[in-house]
């Protein structure tokens, strides 16, 4: 516990936490309304740079909220270094998990697109006089490459 703080300081921290978390949440939701075109209907951050900026902001705010909850509400800030590291270091493995699995998910999407394209592909019938996929008389089986 944060034994070094006075009771008044502790109560001030609680009030600060309430204001901070509430305020950040309000900012997040306001930005979300704005970015999705609910405030000014002609402005939307749904594509390109604006969308990336929006996502980055939201992730940043959430990470700050998480940091505040862990370090001040859960008193991680006043625990010894070993405890902090033994909790945070294993969790940092998740960074790689996120990169790897999001990459993988994107790849599933691409494959699904290819399969869909191939399924919808219309194959033109080839006249019997121009056979394809057979050995054409006189043609080299494996053309030599220069």
């Amino acid at each position: 516990m944060a034994g070094h703080q006075t009771y008044e300081e502790q109560k001030a921290l609680v009030f600060r936490g309430l204001m901070l978390l509430g305020f950040i949440t309000l900012i997040e939701v306001t930005i979300a309304w704005f970015a999705k075109g609910h405030i000014v209907h002609s402005i939307k951050f749904s594509h390109g740079f604006g969308h990336y900026l929006y996502m980055l902001l939201m992730v940043g705010f959430s990470l700050y909220k998480a940091y505040f909850i862990i370090f001040y509400f859960m008193h991680m800030a006043s625990e010894v270094r070993g405890l902090v590291l033994s909790v945070l270091l294993p969790t940092s493995l998740l960074i790689w998990a996120i990169i790897a699995f999001f990459q993988e998910g994107t790849s599933w999407g691409h494959r699904r697109e290819i399969i869909k394209e191939k399924n919808e592909e219309v194959v033109k019938p080839v006249p019997a006089s121009q056979p394809q996929g057979y050995l054409i008389p006189g043609a080299q089986l494996f053309p030599l490459r220069g």
């Binding site: 516990m1 034994g3 009771y7 502790q10 109560k11 921290l13 609680v14 936490g17 309430l18 978390l21 509430g22 949440t25 309000l26 997040e28 939701v29 979300a32 309304w33 999705k36 075109g37 609910h38 209907h41 749904s46 996502m55 939201m58 992730v59 959430s62 909220k65 998480a66 909850i69 862990i70 509400f73 859960m74 625990e79 010894v80 070993g82 405890l83 033994s86 909790v87 294993p90 969790t91 998740l94 998990a97 996120i98 699995f101 999001f102 993988e104 998910g105 994107t106 790849s107 599933w108 999407g109 699904r112 697109e113």
Partner: protein, 310 residues
């Protein structure tokens, strides 16, 4: 033999009286009691479970060409009809933040050995947790009963290209003022489901931004741009994985809130009956359940991020 002296050393300890000690030794790992440390490591493992769920959600979402738009899906308020994007879930977030704050107060009062303070603030925390569960029950009911989302059915879709809505007879649909009912790429719609088949479609009229939703019989649309220009098709349902991911992840979080309320109640009753006052350890049990309760709030930060904000 060597063992004899070790056993003898153990005999010297008066076990079970000092809760700060793990086995009677005078050194405690990380200067934290056994219970508190184990709560931290339980929370680490729980964080990995949640992370597994959320990463699966991200991977599946990234693999889909479209994903339901949060501010279209989550736009209901109790007792009010109309479109209020993200308002209700913001209220839910505030309920959880408040209950987290009251929990901090309970832990602080515990450290001062103030029994009444602990019980009072824990009571408010329990109230907050129960309110959150009530909000979640409303949210789930809206989705399941009124909007027909299920584990394998998602009536919330988004258009993959620009186009127009069609009447059942194949003509282009118009609103009461005679304006064409069109849509742009990424616009959202909700299919009206009857016995598993879509019978109609609800969407925002582009001509009147911010107003109530327009409804059409039939679900035919015609694309006017992109690779599908000219194609007439049924408006497709959204990604099937959406419902399963939403209900499993928010359900797993809700289950944590539920068990949290249960344990908070038990510990509040114990605190009120003076069990922890007798232990004279600064209400450590309250501190431990406090760690768990803040963790539930912490997880909600990320559930809120990925399901409602992004």
């Amino acid at each position: 033999m060597a063992e004899t002296s070790v056993a003898h050393a153990h005999d010297k300890h008066d076990n079970g009286h000092d809760v700060d000690q793990w086995d009677g030794g005078s050194h405690v790992p990380f200067k934290a009691s056994y219970g508190k440390l184990m709560m931290w490591y339980f929370l680490v493992s729980d964080a990995f479970t949640f992370a597994g769920f959320l990463i699966a959600y991200g991977a599946l979402r990234f693999s889909m060409p479209t994903w339901p738009e949060a501010d279209f899906v989550f736009a209901s308020l109790p007792f009010l009809s109309g479109h209020y994007p993200l308002i209700f879930v913001t209220i839910m977030t505030f309920v959880l933040i408040f209950s987290s704050v009251t929990m901090v107060r309970a832990v602080q009062e515990g450290a001062r050995e103030n029994k009444n303070g602990v019980v009072f603030w824990m009571f408010l925390t329990i109230l907050g947790g129960a309110s959150f569960l009530g909000c979640q029950a409303y949210e789930w009911t809206t989705l399941i009963v009124h909007e027909n989302v299920s584990l394998s059915q998602d009536p919330f879709g988004r258009h993959i290209a620009d186009g127009v809505y069609l009447n059942p007879d194949g003509s282009e649909a118009k609103n009461a003022e005679g304006q064409l009912l069109g849509f742009e790429k990424d616009d959202s719609y909700l299919l009206h489901m009857h016995d598993g088949t879509p019978s109609g479609i609800a969407f925002h009229d582009m001509n009147k931004p911010g107003e109530k939703m327009a409804n059409l019989e039939g679900t035919k649309i015609k694309y006017t741009s992109g690779a599908y220009a000219g194609q007439i098709t049924e408006a497709p349902a959204g990604p099937r994985a959406f419902g399963a991911l939403f209900f499993f992840i928010t359900g797993f979080h809700g289950f944590h809130v539920f068990s949290g309320v249960l344990f908070l109640s038990i510990i509040a009753i114990n605190a009120a009956s003076g069990v922890y006052a007798a232990r004279q350890n600064g209400y450590e049990m309250v501190e431990k359940i406090g760690l768990y309760w803040h963790f539930v709030d912490l997880v909600w930060v990320f559930v809120f991020l990925v399901f409602y904000l992004l």
